[in-house]
Amino acid sequence: MIINHPLLGPRDSEEFVYLGSADLINRPTNWESEEAAEDFYQYLYIRENIAGDNRELWYHEQGDQSWLVVTRCTLTHEIKSVELAQDVSRAQGRSK
């Protein structure tokens, strides 16, 4: 596979390490609330098994060490978009 790195251009997937769903960005912040256990359980363990476009996290370990959000169709392996995870995280309202 070839991943089109937003900063470095097309790179072979061999340079990357795969983590999993980009939902892992959405770490709950309510550690003090009563729902924390349920929310963290949902966050860590419960995944959609998507036949279609899946947003997933790849790490450019043999490159610039960027975490990327790669939107990949699980049926065809077509890669629809590649974004810096940092930008996605900020766009989803995460900051410090």
């Binding site: 596979m1 960027s66 065809t76 410090k96």
Partner: protein, 987 residues
């Protein structure tokens, strides 16, 4: 007998004789021959025995689809089994041996299995050998394995070299036949970067096998000129003898280039290169493969594909017999008869299963229309055939054509399903080809040469245009249009005679019928039940035929019957080619520590730790046993001072105004208020609450920290930290970089460690106990201005420091330390002594951080902060993570202190059971994870996990090692066995 089947001409050089050996007999061929063509020139039709029945078998094809002529080539470690003679280029000194027979090829003792064939039908493994059950492993399986099978491995390491390479192009063209060359010419003209690859060692495809004229010259000559034209173009790469074996995602193709010639001349050169080709577009021009017809005894040597007979005749100047007959269901079979008679070879009969007018007249041959071959005779070579009209004809070669199947395999590598075409009686690629691929010529079902050339020509320029390259205005080459008509013919009713479908796996039409009768209706099931198409040829000549027979059996259309899925590799690929240079020590990079050279000078024993080589111990004169050295290293460190290279620990440099907050969220314990000049031990969890790694982090400045991780987890921890920063808290002001390789770091441990370091540290830095207390950290200089970092931390449990200098000073530092340490009898110690001391001290390491343990299990529950969020906090609070009956880490001491002293091994790996229990899965209480002989205590000690261990201290249990036959009583103790109050650390 010398090349009695050789005639004049061909594309070989009949002035250059080549000698080779087949089953020990020296034979001759010519330069340009394949092993198969040279064997046929010498009238060697019988070249092997079949897989299951040990039937005599001959050469069937002239290409990579060959099912029968697979041989062992070479000898000793160079021997390669299952090599197809049809694609092995002949060379001087080639040694070939036929496979799968006991005794001579002519009289195989295992041929007796042929008479037992009623017991060996489809699924015989599942039926015959089920009873008695115990017989399977000891009797049936060894016997079957011995009698069935392919060539034998040499059982020696492959001495050949393999390599990997990467190539990039705009357009990859697979196959250099008429359509591939036409496509390459227009694509190359446009200026696009073109790679043209062909599996044959001569480009030209079927043009080299046929007599067609193109642009007024011989087809093979036209191909040669086209190749010559392409060869001089800068934007074209020709890859001859290169098989594209797989289509992968995003325009990546796998290719194996055969360079055996070069490697034989120079053994340092690779025999094969595994290329990864990156392309924007691909044109598949892989041509077509002829299929057989299933009739009675259709597997005798001398029964060949009609197209192959032409290849041997026209390309290799070999007449495969003296009285040849042809059996066909299509027009193309007749071309074989015509070419043979044109060259003066006697054709005795043409049998066409179609009830139509003869396609052409063949001089001297009897013509039978609407007739089939039903049986053949001849044990080691065909002697006669019997026709459906009852007539018997004497013949020494039967050329069979069941029609041509497009080589569409690569179009299916992304799960494309081929489409049935009734008119051509074969499957064609449908539109679901891999992205970026298009198909031209016979691979697409364009069976008429004139049309295939135009198609290739147009596809080459169209694809180039798509990519923004403008093709020239050259015209496609022209050739006479020859019709191709075919009527499907699968099996012929053959009575009791067996009709083979898959030669290599010995699958007959009856086997397929039996499978259908027994309820296997899906092609995929029949394939697995009968093993059809599962041999090294992957059923290239057999699959479509088998589907046709299945459809007949079940009275279904072929479309409804379906096909199996084609997957990479298209042809077998040697394992060595996938490994490339990554063998032995080159499997992955080797990392040496800064003291490596010095340690070699000390005759250190090294151990591999991941990619690292670390000193395991340093034997001194007179020490004959590893423990002599290790015990000495422990004692001398604890008594005076020892030095250990700990460079392999992960080191991460962190800067930024939010680093302390960032660390606070990574570690279970508080990090927000670590003062400058201090180090703190930290435990990191995974988000699920399981311990991930531990280490120390020092604050060197207000906004500057340096973290250490364990050696094993260095990469993972850094990756995790990048994730936490970039994905979870992107606006924290944190910048980090791994500096593992930038700093040489040594532990200087023992009561005299400070005195030793004081000799090196520049006088302006005070490292006295008061100025630089336990857990102190700072940037200092040594030896007159060399920058260094000093950490007062201890893994050994002694007064100890770790000192780091830029790696380039590492070698010098160990020499300076050892020289300065002479007055204290300083010694270097290795990983064994390091391990012994950390077990004595009760520090968890790799064997304890096994991915199952919580902070509480490790006895670090008290460290866990309840006042902050950190990774693993919430899920670590789950009831099940903190239960008191979990496996908890404790220490173990044998009740009998002399236990195991004579055993030569420790308690490591032993399982723990209560005193009166029988050791089994149900009574299992835990295990010993780390154990070593402690020279300080004078007996073995261990760390390990036992149910509810924290509250069982003082209890006696048994450490049972069923593998090594040990069963000893041990006392559960605190893991902190050496200096539990930590007094040594603070002096």
């Amino acid at each position: 007998m010398s090349q009695i089947n050789r005639i004049d001409g061909g594309l070989i050089d009949q002035t250059k004789s080549v000698s080779f050996a087949f089953n020990g007999q020296i034979l001759r061929g010519y330069e340009g021959d394949t092993l198969a063509s040279a064997l046929l020139a010498n009238n060697k039709h019988l070249v092997g025995r079949s897989f299951k029945y040990h039937r005599p078998r001959g050469i069937v094809t002239a290409g990579s689809e060959e099912p029968n002529a697979i041989m062992e080539i070479g000898h000793g470690a160079y021997k390669e089994p299952n090599t197809r003679a049809t694609i092995t280029q002949l060379y001087n000194g080639l040694e070939a041996n036929s496979q799968n027979h006991r005794g001579p090829l002519d009289f195989d003792f295992m041929a007796i299995t042929d008479f037992f064939s009623p017991f060996l039908s489809a699924g015989f493994y599942y039926k015959t050998f089920m009873w008695p059950k115990a017989f399977w492993e000891k009797f049936y399986e060894p016997v079957i394995r011995h009698s069935a099978g392919l060539g034998k491995l040499s059982m020696l390491e492959d001495p050949d070299t393999y390599d990997k390479g990467f190539r990039y192009c705009d357009i990859l063209i697979i196959g250099a036949g008429a359509s591939g060359l036409s496509a390459a010419l227009t694509a190359a003209e446009s200026g696009a970067r073109v790679i043209l690859a062909d599996e044959d060692f001569v480009m030209g495809g079927r043009l080299n096998s046929e007599t067609n004229e193109i642009d007024g010259i011989k087809g093979s000559e036209w191909a040669k000129q086209a190749v010559a034209k392409l060869a001089v173009m800068d934007n074209v790469t020709l890859m001859v003898d290169t098989t594209i074996f797989g289509a992968y995602d995003h325009g990546i193709y796998g290719a194996i280039e055969n360079r055996a010639d070069e490697a034989r001349a120079d053994s340092s050169k690779p025999r094969q290169v595994n290329w990864r080709i990156y392309t924007k577009r691909t044109i598949l021009c892989a041509g077509a493969t002829e299929r057989a017809i299933a009739f009675g005894n259709n597997d005798r040597p001398g029964i060949m594909m009609a197209g192959a007979v032409r290849t041997y005749l026209n390309r290799f100047a070999v007449a495969t017999g003296q009285s040849i007959s042809i059996y066909t269901n299509n027009d193309d079979g007749w071309q074989t008869a015509k070419d043979l008679t044109d060259k003066g070879v006697n054709v005795v009969a043409v049998i066409d299963s179609r009830s139509i007018d003869p396609v052409m007249s063949i001089e001297g041959a009897e013509i039978f229309m609407g007739t089939d071959v039903t049986d053949t005779k001849g044990r080691r070579a065909i002697k006669s055939i019997t026709l459906s009209n009852g007539k018997t004809i004497n013949t020494d070669t039967l050329a069979v054509s069941g029609g041509w199947n497009p080589n569409l395999h690569l179009t299916c590598h992304h799960r494309g399903i081929p489409k049935w075409n009734e008119e051509l009686a074969t499957f064609l690629p449908d539109s679901s080809v891999p992205v970026g691929m298009s198909v031209a010529g016979r691979a697409k079902g364009t069976m008429v040469l004139a049309d295939a050339i135009v198609e290739g020509h147009n596809e080459g320029s169209a694809v180039a245009l798509d990519l923004g390259f403008k093709a020239g205005d050259s015209k496609p080459a022209t050739t006479a249009s020859v019709a191709y008509n075919v009527t499907a013919k699968w099996g012929v009713p053959s009575g009791k005679n067996r009709a083979w479908v898959d030669y290599q796996n010995d699958v007959t039409a009856k086997d397929i019928k039996l499978a259908n009768q027994e309820g296997f209706k899906s092609v995929e099931h029949v394939k697995r039940y009968t093993t059809l198409g599962m041999a090294t040829d992957q059923g290239k000549t057999a699959n479509v035929l088998a589907i046709g027979i299945m459809a007949d059996n079940m009275d279904k259309s072929i479309e409804d019957t379906g096909t199996t899925i084609f997957r990479p590799p298209y042809n077998p690929v040697a394992m060595g080619a996938f490994a490339g240079r990554r063998r032995g020590m080159e499997f992955y990079p080797t990392r040496y520590t800064p003291t490596h050279k010095w340690s070699e000078e000390q005759n250190a024993i090294f151990v591999e730790v991941g990619m690292w080589y670390r000193s395991q111990w340093f034997p001194q004169p007179g020490e004959t046993f590893w423990r002599d050295s290790v015990d000495r290293e422990v004692r001398q460190t604890r008594e005076s001072v020892g030095i250990c290279d700990v460079t392999t620990l992960g080191k991460i440099d962190l800067k930024g105004t939010d680093v302390s907050e960032f660390l606070n969220r990574l570690y279970v314990n508080a990090f927000a208020k670590v003062p400058v000049g201090k180090t703190r031990y930290g435990l990191m969890l995974r988000e699920d609450g399981i311990a991930m790694d531990d280490g120390t982090t020092a604050r060197l400045g207000e906004n500057h920290f340096v973290m250490t991780t364990t050696t094993a987890n260095a990469v993972n921890v850094y990756r995790h930290m990048q994730f936490c920063h970039q994905c979870l808290w992107p606006d924290l002001d944190v910048h980090m970089i791994s500096v593992t390789e930038q700093y040489a770091q040594y532990a200087v441990a023992g009561p005299n460690s400070r005195k030793l370091l004081q000799k090196l540290v520049d006088p302006e830095h005070d490292i006295s106990n008061e100025a630089f207390p336990y857990m102190g950290a700072g940037e200092i200089s040594i030896c007159g201005g060399i920058p260094a970092r000093l950490f007062r931390i201890s893994f050994s449990g002694e007064l100890a420091y770790e000192i780091a200098v830029p790696t380039r000073y590492g070698d010098s530092l160990i020499r300076v330390l050892m020289e300065a340490g002479k007055e204290f009898n300083a010694i270097p110690y290795g990983t064994e002594a390091l391990g012994a001391m950390r077990i004595e001290k009760g520090h968890a390491a790799g064997p304890e951080l096994n991915g199952q343990t919580s902070a509480y299990d490790l006895g670090m529950g008290g460290m866990v902060s309840g006042k902050k969020d950190f990774i693993g906090y919430t899920l670590g609070l789950r009831e099940g993570m903190q239960r008191n009956d979990r496996m908890q880490m404790v220490g173990f001491k044998p009740v009998n202190k002399s236990a195991l002293l004579d055993a030569g091994h420790s308690m490591a790996g032993a399982h723990l059971v209560n005193l009166r229990d029988k050791p089994d899965t149900f009574t299992d209480q835990g295990w010993i994870s780390s154990s070593i002989y402690s020279p300080i205590f004078g007996h073995y000690i261990g760390l390990g996990y036992i149910k509810g261990g924290h509250s069982r201290k003082g209890e006696t249990v048994r450490a049972v090692d069923l593998v090594r036959g040990q069963d000893i009583e041990v006392e559960i103790v605190s893991p902190h066995m050496y200096d539990p109050e930590g007094e040594c650390l603070r002096v």
